[in-house]
């Protein structure tokens, strides 16, 4: 993992000192709320329905056990003992006090964490594949470049007042787990024929009220030019992006208005001028940062544990299910990647209490070289678990209530905070997630249904990624009542697509039955080996409409 050097530490502590002065000026009346609001937002501090909310960055989803313990400490000391992991691989504390935030930021800095730019019209936390550096299908480890971008974008003097927020995601695997096509800039890493790494650059993807799949602006970018090229994209956006209408201010709108070819021309003109500037990534810096991501001290040639694993799986059906859903192939033989599901009955998706954070940190130290990842589906990952220790780990997780075997399944629901916390919400999301989870408790049924993503947002802002859920649910407000609009067929991976509207919005009580009808329709129509998404793409929306609305589809469309 990346560790701060003296420069990184100094910058963060200077920023924290600056923020402390701003908070003091607010509390003593020198700044009013209108002046202070943008300042606090640039440091991830929102005022929500019940209290201040602080969003803490987890850079590209990577946490050390020490950092997780620090988060536990903050949850315990300054919040109500819990935090919520978000679709941006961050964590949010929902009950903090303004007067405490300077101290919280200082505590975070001790563990090399910040809330800088976790909000505001600037480059937000860089996100990446949660299995980066570990996945068996990975071509290039994107973490080095994620870290270069993290530093490059932090307190950028020119791009701290962009037209709107700006999100960058990276993946180095052909299977995209980071939803890069739905980011302002998406970076897909490939190898060329000589075996050298490079980027395919996508631009103008995004969700919100105008969802757009990103377009390729450059097929191949050499890593040394990463920062200059990103800078060219940002500079063109900063000058051309619309500032007359907040709903049209994201880069996707200007890319669509100008057309990707024109946008590319503008970027290339600018890039031509700056590609050989001081932004060029030097080999020394690349080496320095790469050294931080050296593999942990794996045990060579672990004895083959597969026979023992097979035996245990045969003996313990629950362990067997967990291995099938939550354990992923690791690039190093004898190791596995383990997912910890934060989708547990009775707890909001992504929530984790302080004691559990400490416990996970402990398990990470014991089984995974002290490393934890946060996924954009609001789960946690232990990156490096010896296969012969899987059973022991599973038992420990089971005791903690963190062994739900539902990764990738219908109840692995993404949900934003919704109207229970968020001041922008139209409707609640968490109770809908809970209703659905309670409706689908039969593990065999869930296994039968297989891969299916279900994403819920409490409003058009789409923090819950509803557009790209295989099933999406959007909370809407109809004359003061909560309703839920379903979409089908969304996907956020390398075959990204936006969901189609199913029909009229439903009352909360109707949602679980509608999901059931959709699932049953899929089960009855699917052909061998088809996932929900495959069947949907083959048969289209009509059968699902009929199943949910029980009438000819043309009349059901609202």
């Amino acid at each position: 993992m990346y560790r701060y050097d003296e420069f990184d530490h100094r910058l963060v502590s200077e920023r924290n000192a600056q923020f402390r002065r701003q908070v003091e000026r607010r509390l003593n009346g020198e700044l009013n709320e209108d002046q202070f609001k943008p300042l606090r937002l640039m440091n991830g501090l929102y005022l929500q329905l019940h209290a201040y909310m602080l969003r803490v960055n987890v850079p590209y989803g990577t946490l050390s056990s020490e950092q997780l313990r620090k988060l536990a400490h903050i949850a315990r000391t300054y919040d109500r003992d819990f935090g919520q992991f978000t679709t941006r691989q961050n964590i949010q504390f929902n009950w903090v006090k303004l007067e405490d935030t300077p101290d919280i930021l200082e505590a975070l800095a001790e563990a090399e964490m910040t809330a800088i730019q976790s909000s505001g019209n600037c480059v937000r936390n860089i996100t990446a594949d949660q299995y980066a550096g570990r996945a068996r299908d990975e071509l290039v480890d994107p973490r080095v470049y994620s870290e270069l971008l993290r530093q490059y974008s932090l307190l950028h003097p020119e791009f701290s007042y962009l037209p709107r927020k700006f999100k960058i995601a990276l993946t180095g695997s052909p299977h995209d787990r980071a939803a890069v096509a739905l980011h302002d800039i998406g970076l897909r890493m490939h190898l060329n024929e000589a075996g050298e790494p490079g980027f395919e650059v996508l631009v103008g993807g995004g969700q919100g009220r105008t969802p757009v799949i990103g377009k390729t602006i450059r097929e191949w970018l050499e890593p040394e030019n990463l920062l200059s090229y990103v800078e060219a994209i940002l500079r063109v956006y900063n000058m051309q992006g619309r500032r007359d209408n907040i709903h049209k201010a994201r880069i996707k709108i200007i890319v669509n208005q100008l057309g990707i070819d024109r946008y590319r021309e503008l970027v290339d003109d600018e890039w031509e001028r700056i590609r050989d500037s001081r932004l060029k990534v030097s080999p020394e810096e690349l080496d320095r940062v790469s050294a931080h991501f050296a593999p942990p001290p794996y045990t060579d040639l672990l004895p083959d544990a597969s026979a023992e694993l097979e035996r245990l799986r045969a003996e313990e059906p629950a362990f067997d299910r967990w291995c099938a859903t939550n354990v992923e192939e690791h690039k190093v033989p004898g190791y596995s990647i383990v997912n910890l599901s934060l989708k547990r009955l009775g707890r909001p998706p992504g929530d984790l209490d302080a004691d559990s954070m400490d416990a996970v940190a402990e398990l990470a130290d014991r089984y995974s070289f002290g490393e934890v990842r946060v996924t954009h589906r609001q789960n946690l990952v232990l990156t490096d678990v010896e296969q012969r220790e899987l059973f022991e780990l599973w038992r420990a997780l089971d005791v903690l209530g963190l062994a739900s075997s539902n990764i990738g399944q219908l109840t692995d629901i993404i949900s934003c905070p919704g109207l229970d916390y968020c001041s922008l919400a139209n409707a609640r999301s968490i109770p809908v997630a809970e209703d659905i989870s309670r409706h689908f408790v039969d593990v065999d049924k869930l296994a039968l249904v297989g891969d299916l993503t279900l994403n819920i947002s409490g409003c058009m802002n789409a923090c819950g990624h509803h557009h790209v859920g295989n099933i999406g649910i959007l909370g809407v407000d109809k004359r003061g009542e909560e309703f839920f609009q379903l979409t089908l067929g969304g996907a956020s991976d390398e075959g990204a697509s936006l969901g189609d509207r199913l029909g009229r919005a439903l009352a909360q009580a109707e949602v679980p039955a509608a999901i059931e009808a959709i699932v049953e329709t899929y089960l009855s129509l699917r052909m061998d080996g088809e996932r929900f998404l495959d069947t949907y793409r083959r048969v289209g929306i009509e059968p699902f409409k009929q199943a949910v609305y029980g009438e000819p589809a043309s009349r059901a469309a609202a």
Binding site: D5, F7, D8, Y152, M239
Partner: protein, 163 residues
């Protein structure tokens, strides 16, 4: 009341802002709008006194790229502090067009932004502050290290690491 800070210190305003219809005051230094500059370019360059142009945030510097040799000041307007276009304009003026005259931040200029502004090439600021010199100095001291190259030649953290 706004105070002009130039090169880090309060400074007397020596330019007069001229509106679209105003008479040009004889012998005085003036700052004009882009439209006025376009309309009166010849008179403005031939008269006594220095000339500056004030660009709105939707008027990029490429519109005056050919004229820069005549301009002592380019004033870039911040209609609201959130409108960050002028950061890029200042940078382009310095780096792309090689402009060496004064680049002045005018409009809604917040103390918190001064550090960034200096790094992208502004060297003059119209500030509302009871103690602009002190505020300017505090803002400059906000950060002693950064990752991005600015138009100043000062080293980035990355460059310092590999010294």
């Amino acid at each position: 009341m706004k105070t002009l800070i130039r090169n880090g210190a309060p400074s007397d305003e020596t330019f007069v802002s001229i509106g679209a219809e105003d008479e040009l005051p004889a012998g005085m230094d003036v700052i004009v709008t882009l439209d006025r500059w376009r309309a009166d370019r010849d008179r403005l360059t031939q008269r006594e006194g220095l000339v500056g142009v004030r660009l709105q945030s939707d008027e990029p510097p490429e519109l005056i790229a050919e004229d820069l040799e005549h301009l002592a000041v380019v004033a870039l307007e911040f209609p609201a502090f959130r409108d960050g276009r002028a950061y890029s304009y200042a940078r382009l003026l310095r780096e792309q067009y090689g402009y060496a005259g004064e680049i002045r931040a005018v409009g809604d200029v917040l103390l918190e932004q001064l550090h960034f502004m200096v790094r992208v090439g502004f060297d003059a600021f119209e500030l509302s502050s009871s103690d602009p010199k002190r505020d300017f100095e505090i803002a400059q001291a906000d950060f002693s290290v950064w990752y991005q190259p600015g138009v100043d030649e000062r080293d980035t953290a990355i460059e310092l690491r590999h010294r």
